[in-house]
Symmetry: C2
Subunit: 212 residues, 2 copies
DNA sequence: ATTTAAAAATAACAGTGTTAAGTTAACATT
DNA sequence: AATGTTAACTTAACACTGTTATTTTTAAAT
């Protein structure tokens, strides 16, 4: 059955077919459902053939998630055109949370799972490319808001501000993704928790928070 | 070799021996090193015998973590004796962060990994027992601070306050545990991130934050 | 037509959680 | 005291997993 000698484009097509199959399983059934055999079956290949396109499972998963990290970056990019630095910042945060909560499996893989430390050289994402790198976008958004003077004067390091906000928003998303159904916790509604977190950040960081 | 008919105490001893062996692997090598065979070997049992004491691996791991959740609760308990509600609250948070960062594997298991939703009936932790249930302790600490009037008057729901603070602190811990070594992020020092997060929470929630 | 080598499949290995079927030995009963 | 019962444990085995080695297929190159 091997029609021999595939063009680079054809090889790339198989690669993305594999990634699409993996993503399908990943999104709907979670990471534990993504077995090499299951992925292979979906595209009519044998499991071992996947190793001709990815060195191992970890690399396959990373490739899938990388592609969606870029999608996150593009979703966030749409907020960069907002003129007002504060509004831009708020929309940025909201898009981030929305991505996390509508793509819990991707979010889990990106930020909630243990990985061998990411080697930027191996990643398909271009670091510091503001089109692809959501982190550098965050730094940019916060820094511009900082230059616009929206933060308290005592806050002198926009990177530290950004990392603090990220952590706060991440905590919100991560707890929800993992523990939303935990009978132990009498969770307040997701909306009110989001609102409360945003307000805490605003009052905690802004010079004179505009309450809306 | 089976000396037959074990007393309940002896059976309990084996149970804890299993849990100790699992914990040892768990702490030092992470969850993926905790295989039934490895645990069994450590106590000179065969792997299948573990199933006489735990219905499955998940239950074993949960038992190990539950025991340490209680240790967390006891660590936090020491702060409850602090008279000043604000100081009690601050110390509580600091102990929480310290536990998370010195027990990353336990913390990961508790709050950062996907579990079948926790059935309080099956847990060894007594819910709402303030000696064991760290979450209800958090609610208590925040509520008492709220009654003492340290929070902004606009904040009317101490449970929502508590969940917001928890999320913020969790984000701090979780990102550090998973991404501290990520070359992608130019992390500020852990100390300054903790400090920044605390200050953001204080300024964001307190009526008139005492800056120390 | 024969060789070559790329692309795939099959077989197989080592490891996993887990179940089924034995084995051993302390106890209860006759 | 001999016998059976059964708790405690082990060994075999199953159905998976990721992965490697080997083999097959087949289009192209000679």
């Amino acid at each position: 059955m091997p029609p021999k000698v595939k063009t680079d484009a054809e090889k790339q097509a198989v690669r993305t077919a594999i990634m699409d199959a993996a993503r399908e399983l990943f999104i709907h059934q979670g990471v534990q459902a993504v077995t090499m055999r299951a992925v292979a079956q979906r595209i009519g290949y044998s499991a071992t053939s996947l190793f001709l396109y990815f060195t191992d499972k970890e690399q396959l998963l990373r490739a899938v998630v990388d592609a969606d990290v870029i999608k996150l970056a593009q979703a966030l990019k749409s907020t960069l055109s907002i003129a007002d630095p504060l509004q831009r910042f708020l929309q940025f945060g909201q898009h981030y949370v929305q991505f996390a909560l509508t793509n819990p499996n991707h979010y889990r893989m990106m930020f909630m799972t243990q990985h061998p430390p990411c080697d930027p050289a191996l990643s398909s994402i271009e670091q510091n490319n503001p089109e692809q790198d959501a982190y550098s976008m965050l730094i940019g958004v916060v820094t511009s808001a900082w230059h616009a003077g929206v933060f308290k004067p005592s806050l002198t390091d926009p990177v530290l501000i950004a990392q603090t906000i990220w952590a706060a928003m991440h905590g919100l998303c991560a707890l929800h993704i993992n523990l939303a159904d935990d009978a132990w916790i009498n969770w307040r509604s997701l909306e009110s928790r989001i609102q409360a977190m945003i307000e805490m950040c605003l009052h905690g960081l802004m010079k004179e928070p505009t309450h809306e």
